[in-house]
């Protein structure tokens, strides 16, 4: 973060390596379109880069970067809405409303960061469970692992995830 704040272009790689996927997740959950999400991710890092000199490097950059990502997504969304692009129009409102709420994109960001912090062997089990909708047996067959290994990894991964996300309030709370 120090190199980033000092304006070294290569330091963008470090920040992207840590947060790029989570920024993309926020943009995708807000915009639902890969092309627009890529644009929002570029905008996010560009704006973060331009604001880097004013960033307090003793602080955790994650909430700061999330705020920029969310706002960049909103900007892309509003522009697309104005030009009649691939985002829904809401004629009753002057301000565009994203399909996913602030709470939901924040949660998606936190989940993505929690998964990124996990060893691959746990993350792949979570992905098979939720993304592919697989049972433990199917996951074991897909990954070529004993059933008991899949069960224990799934349990540990979900326990870890539940703990890491326990600070999040329920969306409607």
């Amino acid at each position: 973060m120090e190199r980033f704040a000092a304006g070294e272009p290569e330091a963008v790689r470090d920040l992207y390596g840590r947060y790029g996927r989570a920024v993309f997740t926020v943009a995708m959950s807000a915009l639902g379109n890969r092309h627009l999400a890529e644009e929002a991710v570029q905008l996010t890092f560009l704006q973060a880069w331009r604001a880097a000199a004013r960033f307090d490097i003793s602080r955790d950059p994650a909430p700061w970067l999330y705020a920029i990502a969310r706002r960049a997504s909103v900007d892309v969304f509003r522009r697309e809405r104005r030009h009649g692009g691939g985002v829904p129009l809401d004629h009753d409102s002057d301000i565009a409303v994203l399909p996913e709420s602030f709470e939901a994109t924040w949660r998606a960001w936190e989940i993505r960061l929690a998964l990124d912090a996990m060893p691959d062997k746990y993350r792949e089990v979570v992905e098979a469970t939720h993304y592919l909708g697989m049972s433990h047996e199917q996951t074991a067959a897909r990954l070529g692992l004993p059933l008991g290994t899949v069960k224990s990894r799934a349990h540990r991964a979900h326990r870890d995830l539940a703990k890491r996300l326990s600070h999040l309030e329920e969306a409607t709370a």
Partner: protein, 210 residues
């Protein structure tokens, strides 16, 4: 059964009799249920698992390293220069400063007066038309730092449609980028916004070209 194990099972969607019984007796886990279900809902959407393209990192590094703005913290005009001259003179002065500092000079500049909420504030917005949007710098005097719990937000507006160009807490050396042009969004203004989840210009209007 421990709470951690019960919650793991709920999150995984692997709920058996032991977990159900635990839920009946544990108010804390019952309170966590909506949050666990919301997390599961998000993880079950295909959108959540989309991966960014492999070349996106290089594109971003190219954007920040390529021709275009570099941060110039040491090259800002000294504050006293701005403090002693009026708004009209600021435009002329900054134009001169930017001609020396930047190539090319800004595509447009506009004076940004303070509203009745910030009568001492005076500033100039300089804009560069770039592919896909507009880069702007703010040179503002007389606007105090945003108080705790608030930030300033810079807006471009066309009628009732408002685009945020970014936020800041201190008006010194602010650079902004927005994916629209000033020709489309002629009104430039700044609000003082509370830190909340409202993403519309809901705060106090402190500076405005309108």
């Amino acid at each position: 059964m421990k709470c951690d194990d019960a919650r793991a099972a709920f999150l995984a969607g692997q709920v058996g009799r032991a977990e159900s019984e635990h839920l009946e007796t544990c108010a804390e886990c019952r309170a966590e249920m909506p949050s666990l279900l919301e997390t599961r809902r998000i993880m079950e959407s295909a959108t959540f698992w989309e991966e960014p393209p492999a070349d996106l990192e290089d594109r971003i590094v190219g954007l920040v390293a390529g021709p275009g703005p570099k941060k110039e913290p040491a090259e800002k005009p000294p504050r006293w220069q701005l403090a002693v001259v009026g708004a009209a003179a600021v435009v002329a002065l900054l134009l001169g400063v930017f001609l020396v500092q930047r190539t090319p000079s800004p595509d447009w500049e506009v004076a940004l007066p303070g509203t009745a909420e910030a009568p001492l504030a005076v500033g100039v917005v300089s804009g560069w038309n770039e592919p896909g949007g507009t880069r702007m710098t703010l040179d503002i005097e007389g606007l105090p730092p945003a108080p705790n719990g608030f930030f300033y937000e810079f807006w471009l507006s066309a009628g009732d449609l408002h685009i945020s160009a970014g936020t800041f807490t201190e008006a010194q050396g602010v650079e902004l980028w927005v994916g629209v042009t000033r020709a489309e969004f002629p009104r430039l203004w700044i609000t003082l916004e509370p830190i909340d989840e409202d993403e519309s210009p809901s705060g106090v209007n402190v500076m405005d070209t309108a």
